[in-house]
């Protein structure tokens, strides 16, 4: 047996705790059955499943690594010969084994009841859903904690709650999307149930599509945990998995162009432009997300610079951070969309102008994140960068509009300007200035230390 899983079994599944769970849940279900109130045993089992597996389980998953760091046992674990995969699943399912034990009792009651009302296939689909929502919540919480571990050494109770919250948000998203396709459940969320999903021009059965999507996103979350565990165990990750994810997520989201046109009949873009736009938006969001989450390591940036300077392109590409790859993906899609828009608009039109301005803003914004990591007090660099972006996108526009200086908005975010080339020139000028300052500060710190970084 996986030693990490075994250790968690020893700690979590002691006879007293097992008995306690059986007795407490047994009494609760018995009480629900005999009182016959609004909540029968099946409804109660569903609520308890979410509480035990999703809410409590995601907390335990979030604590599985952070708790080891807090208790000073993580170094000893990292020095074991366990593989990242063994460590990942040993922690994910080991730290939550008590929750899964309680969840299994709840599922037995819930699905046993459903079996009397529905056919076996429907019960099996429900079983897959409940297992998936539990795994995705716990895996997302573990993923968030592993991301945080790379950024800081100490973790307060509030920090741990935020990692748990990521798991809960993932579970809530899955719940609402799933319920929307459930004729009975859709009533709960106050919407008409969705029977079909338009995707890449095909009309697919909503439940089947969501079930497959859920399985795929669960798999990607687990892959993310595995990759971060590799880093924790001091192994290196190449770029291929993230590139594969970018390819998947771009294609997945781009397929929803039909869903957009269903809801927005006045869209002037054709299917190809919409798909490119959706993929571009996804990559831009991922760029922002990853530049915020990843440690912006000036040692790595200097090393990348030296590799590129020496012409070791392959070596440099192998060590790119996820935000860099996302940015490059966004740039490639943006160029494709620009070519397409220029062709359909018969020249450099308003949409093309907004697109180029948007890429300028994206470049400026990621440069701000990097720049703030090179300034004194860089431990709070990300926070400062977020404050600057809030000022740029929310506060300053409000002030400029109040003062009647709407023309100044082009300095903050993409705007249609007259002439059309002015907006792109402004945002790209800002981007180049911020990027140059950031790169300059990284290079200056290298000269100050006069050492050759050696990461490869």
């Amino acid at each position: 047996m996986n030693p990490e899983f075994q250790r968690n079994l020893w700690l979590e599944l002691g006879p007293r705790r097992v008995l306690l769970m059986i007795v407490v849940l047994g009494l609760v279900f018995f009480a629900a059955a005999v009182t016959g109130g609004d909540f029968g045993p099946a409804s109660l089992a569903q609520i308890l499943y979410y509480l035990i597996v999703v809410v409590w389980g995601s907390r335990n998953a979030a604590l599985s690594v952070v708790g080891e760091i807090r208790d000073r046992t993580w170094d000893a674990q990292r020095l074991s010969s366990l593989t990242p995969f063994e460590m990942m699943w040993g922690k994910l399912f080991g730290s939550t084994i008590y929750n899964w034990f309680g969840g299994a009792i709840c599922l037995a009651v819930l699905l046993g009841y459903r079996f009397t009302q529905h056919d076996a296939a429907s019960v099996a689909i429900s079983l897959v859903y409940y297992l998936a929502v539990g795994v995705i919540a716990q895996a997302a919480a573990l993923l968030a904690s592993l991301v945080a571990v790379r950024r800081r050494l100490t973790h307060s109770r509030f920090d741990i709650f935020t990692y748990q919250l990521v798991g809960l948000i993932a579970a809530v998203a899955v719940f609402f999307v799933w319920e929307a396709a459930d004729p009975a459940g859709a009533l709960l969320v106050g919407r008409k149930s969705t029977e079909s999903v338009p995707w890449w021009g095909q009309t697919l059965d909503a439940r089947s599509f969501l079930l497959v999507s859920l399985a795929i996103f669960t798999a990607w979350t687990l892959i993310g945990c595995y990759r971060l565990m590799r880093l924790e165990l001091k192994m290196r990750n190449g770029p291929l998995v993230w590139l594969a994810f970018l390819g998947f997520i771009g294609l997945y989201v781009a397929g929803f162009d039909g869903w957009l046109t269903q809801r927005q009949a006045t869209l002037r873009w054709d299917a190809v432009e919409l798909r490119l736009g959706l993929a571009l938006t996804t990559y831009a969001v991922l760029t922002y997300l990853m530049v915020l989450l990843e440690p912006k390591d000036r040692v790595l940036y200097r090393w990348l610079g030296s590799r590129l300077g020496e012409g070791s392109i392959r070596s440099a590409l192998w060590n790119l951070q996820a935000w860099m790859m996302s940015y490059f993906a966004a740039s490639i899609v943006a160029i494709a969309l620009l070519v397409r828009l220029t062709a359909t608009e018969g020249g450099f039109g308003a949409d093309a102008s907004l697109l180029v301005s948007g890429m300028g803003c994206l470049t400026r914004d990621v440069s701000i994140f990097v720049l703030f990591q090179t300034l004194p007090g860089r431990r709070r660099g990300d926070f400062s960068a977020v404050i600057v972006l809030i000022a740029l996108y929310l506060v300053m526009p409000y002030i400029l509009r109040g003062m009647g200086l709407d023309a100044g908005l082009a300095y903050l975010y993409p705007q249609v300007t007259a002439p059309l080339w002015l907006g792109p020139v402004i945002t790209w000028a800002e981007a180049i200035v911020v990027a140059a300052v950031a790169i300059g500060r990284i290079a200056l710190s290298e000269r100050a230390e006069s050492r050759e970084p050696a990461l490869a």
């Binding site: 030693p3 020893w10 000073r72 046992t73 000893a76 010969s81 366990l82 860089r378 230390e449 050492r451």
Partner: protein
């Protein structure tokens, strides 16, 4: 066994190690000393492949820590200065987990657990919970976890901190027995007296740099050091000892620190010759402050 070349490590606001180079031979115990904040723990973490160097290279048993960190992890044991234990697990389960997570097969694990527990004197506590052990016994359990898989290299960061004199003595004997069984050990401490008992060499770190540029030999079991003290000063003490074929480390008119073969007959002859030459020998004994002497000699200052 351990080779460090021009190792530099940086924290965001500080260079913790600056161009450290050293080489540690197999089956030796090296003392890593220096003031608090000198870089001892950082060096140990770099050796353990827990921190990647900013520049330079570290190799353990011929393996580069950057290229194959997991192979390094398999081959070494590491006890950090602030270690944790699974308080709710029994000593046996703590050791079983350590053994299994270091790749010991399930069928062999119980035997290696018994062996590790015997080595650290915990054989009669196997069923006690880790949380119920005293500080000294917890330290022993932590060491047992670090050695349960018989690593080639053992890194110990302040292992004797907080131990009583008897526990320190037991620790010294344990470390010597581990060395004799084939392990290479690096032991960090800022208490020189405790390192004296077992270390062969000393590495002094100060402000992230290796003082003296290399490990200093502080104890040679084949050629130990002795101190001769005279009741009456004699200016020719050094000359006499040199003429007698003795290696003199340092000497003045009252006292000499010498290196002599580990041979009782040779010591008896030298003592006889000294007395015959009219030296009033007040004491002739094994040097007990070799490490401390070497430390302050390197730093160029006396306590």
């Amino acid at each position: 066994m351990i080779e460090v070349r021009d190792l530099t490590y940086e924290y965001p606001s500080k260079r913790a190690l600056d161009g450290v180079s050293l080489r540690v031979a197999p089956q030796t115990i090296v003392a890593l000393v220096g003031p608090n904040g000198a870089g001892k723990t950082t060096l140990l973490r770099c050796l353990a492949a827990l921190e990647p160097p900013f520049s330079g290279a570290v190799s353990i048993d011929g393996r580069d820590t950057r290229k194959v960190p997991r192979e390094i992890h398999e081959r070494l044991g590491y006890l950090s200065d602030f270690y944790g234990l699974y308080d709710d697990l029994s000593v046996r389960r703590c050791l079983l987990y350590a053994a299994r997570s270091h790749g010991i097969a399930p069928a062999l694990a119980p035997a290696v657990v018994e062996k590790a527990a015997r080595r650290v004197g915990l054989a009669d506590r196997l069923e006690s919970k880790a949380g119920e052990l005293s500080r000294g016994l917890r330290q022993r359990l932590a060491i047992a976890q670090a050695i349960v898989h018989e690593p080639k290299v053992l890194l110990l960061d302040e292992p004797a901190a907080g131990l009583d004199p008897q526990a320190r003595r037991d620790l010294s004997q344990l470390l010597l027995s581990l060395r004799d069984s084939g392990m290479t050990l690096i032991v960090s401490s800022h208490i020189l007296a405790e390192l004296q008992d077992y270390s062969n060499e000393m590495i002094i770190i100060e402000n992230g740099r290796l003082v003296g540029g290399q490990p200093i030999k502080v104890r040679d079991d084949e050629r130990p050091r002795y101190v001769i003290e005279l009741a009456t000063a004699r200016s020719d003490l050094r000359q006499f000892l040199s003429n007698a074929g003795v290696d003199v480390v340092e000497a003045d008119d009252h006292r000499a620190l010498i290196v002599l073969t580990h041979n009782a007959g040779a010591r008896a002859k030298l003592l006889r010759d000294l007395v015959a030459a009219g030296f009033e020998v007040a004491s002739f004994s094994a040097a007990t402050k070799e490490l401390e002497d070497a430390y302050f000699a390197q730093l160029g200052r006396r306590p």
